[in-house]
């Protein structure tokens, strides 16, 4: 393939013109023209190369050959580059014409290097062409098997966990010291028989050290007093909100 390119490059111009479709783009054409100029791309004259390209394109146009747009774009760009290279140096220009020319040269070198590398790669001892692997390998198979691991503790803990989860919850209410309403009614009713005058509700409570029982007794006795008042057996009086509750027989 490399040889083919080179060959095209050294043909006379008429023939080159006719084979315009054979190029893989303007860069390919430029590289082929450069190849004619010198083998060492690092030493080619960009100005000469530009002139060759422009001559090539103008000849193709003279022969009324169809030229793809990108070749013409490249021609315009190279014509511009040429004028920059010929004109006195413009110190303002950035990049300078020389720098652009150098980049074009580098670009051609890059493409050329890859073209040659490709040819060398293709020419290596390749499997299936120059060297051969075993024709009938038996093939390998690796079967991965899981070695499952669990400790006895894991097993027992899991069962415990299942059991703990699935056993219906049993609610046990611990016995608490309370005075029921019935007890309070009986007690307050009985005590009212002996006390006639206004008496503090608390006076009806039994003596106890148990604060929980005392609270229960107070609540039950209060409700019992309300019940007795509803039945018309007692009167209840309170002078102010949250003031002491007084009870007396009706």
């Amino acid at each position: 393939m490399e040889a083919e390119t080179f060959e095209l490059g050294v043909r006379d111009e008429a023939e080159l013109t006719l084979s315009i479709d054979g190029w893989e783009g303007p860069l390919d054409l430029l590289l082929s023209l450069a190849r004619v100029q010198k083998v060492d791309l690092a030493a080619i004259s960009i100005l000469e190369l530009v002139e060759q390209y422009l001559a090539y394109i103008s000849e193709a146009r003279a022969l009324k050959l169809e030229i793809a747009a990108d070749y013409l774009v490249m021609a315009a760009w190279l014509a511009y580059l040429k004028s920059c290279l010929l004109l006195p140096k413009d110190p303002e220009a950035d990049p300078s014409a020389e720098e652009i020319a150098l980049r074009l040269q580098m670009r051609l070198q890059r493409l050329d290097a890859m073209r040659e590398a490709g040819a060398r790669l293709i020419g290596r001892d390749r499997i299936g062409r120059d060297v051969f692997v075993r024709g009938a390998p038996e093939g390998l198979r690796l079967v991965r098997k899981s070695a499952w691991q669990a400790r006895p503790f894991d097993l027992f803990a899991a069962y415990g966990s299942v059991k703990a989860r699935s056993t219906p919850p049993l609610h046990v209410v611990h016995p608490r010291s309370v005075m029921t309403l019935e007890e309070a009614l009986e007690r307050v009713g009985r005590m009212l028989g002996t006390r006639l005058d206004w008496t503090l509700l608390e006076a009806f409570l039994p003596l106890t050290e148990d604060p929980q029982f005392r609270r229960s007794a107070l609540a039950s006795s209060f409700v019992a007093a309300l019940e007795l008042a509803r039945l018309g057996r007692v009167d209840i009086a309170q002078d102010e909100p949250f003031g002491p509750l007084m009870v007396k027989t009706s």
Binding site: W148, A150, Y159, V162, A164
Partner: protein, 193 residues
């Protein structure tokens, strides 16, 4: 012969046989390897490869290389990779062990969670659980039970050695467990391996 390398013709025969997709007859070998005494080259190669991992063999007048028969087991290698049983699988195994023979529906009823098909597969793959017939009755459900391998893996003489409910209670394993923290614990154990 080896120490001095193989002669050119024997090399050619060796390469031909190696690259061929089929066993080759003497004539076919000669087609490739060119001028030479094929039979002699084969004899040299056979001698050379004696004791190697591959050998030159003749079958019905055709020759080929093959892996030495004593190494055939290498071609299909089984590798065991330790893997910790998932929590679902561990619970399922425990339920089977305590309640066997037990159907899948019963396991799910006890766990309170559905079990995936994979869970029982894993336990059977591990060799700890086996199908144990069907229960006569509606649907004839398949039953599962543990294996002798299960007992030996968990160091149990028999299923009677499974700790009873009272033992579990005494060990604190029946206390209501904070599910969240238990799970975390199991997962962190899982990361160890």
């Amino acid at each position: 012969m080896d120490e001095f390398g193989l002669d050119e013709f024997t090399r050619a025969v060796e390469a031909t046989l190696f690259a061929s997709a089929n066993p080759l007859s003497l004539d076919e070998i000669a087609d490739y390897a060119g001028e030479g005494e094929v039979a002699e080259a084969l004899a040299r190669l056979a001698e050379h490869y004696a004791g190697h991992g591959i050998e030159l063999v003749e079958r019905g007048g055709r020759w080929h290389f093959q892996t030495a028969p004593d190494l055939a087991h290498l071609l299909r290698r089984t590798r065991e990779e330790p893997r910790r049983l998932s929590r679902a699988a561990t619970e399922t195994l425990a339920i089977i062990a305590y309640h066997e023979p037990v159907s899948r529906a019963e396991i799910e009823a006890i766990r309170g969670v559905q079990i995936s098909k994979g869970t029982l597969d894993v336990l059977m793959d591990a060799g700890w659980v086996r199908p144990a017939g069907r229960r006569e009755g509606p649907g004839r459900p398949l039953l599962y039970a543990t294996t002798a391998e299960f007992l030996s893996h968990f160091g149990l003489g028999s299923r009677r050695d499974l700790p009873g409910i009272d033992d579990l209670k005494a060990a604190g394993l029946l206390d209501p467990i904070d599910e969240g923290s238990f799970q975390l614990q199991l997962e962190s154990e899982g990361e160890e391996d």
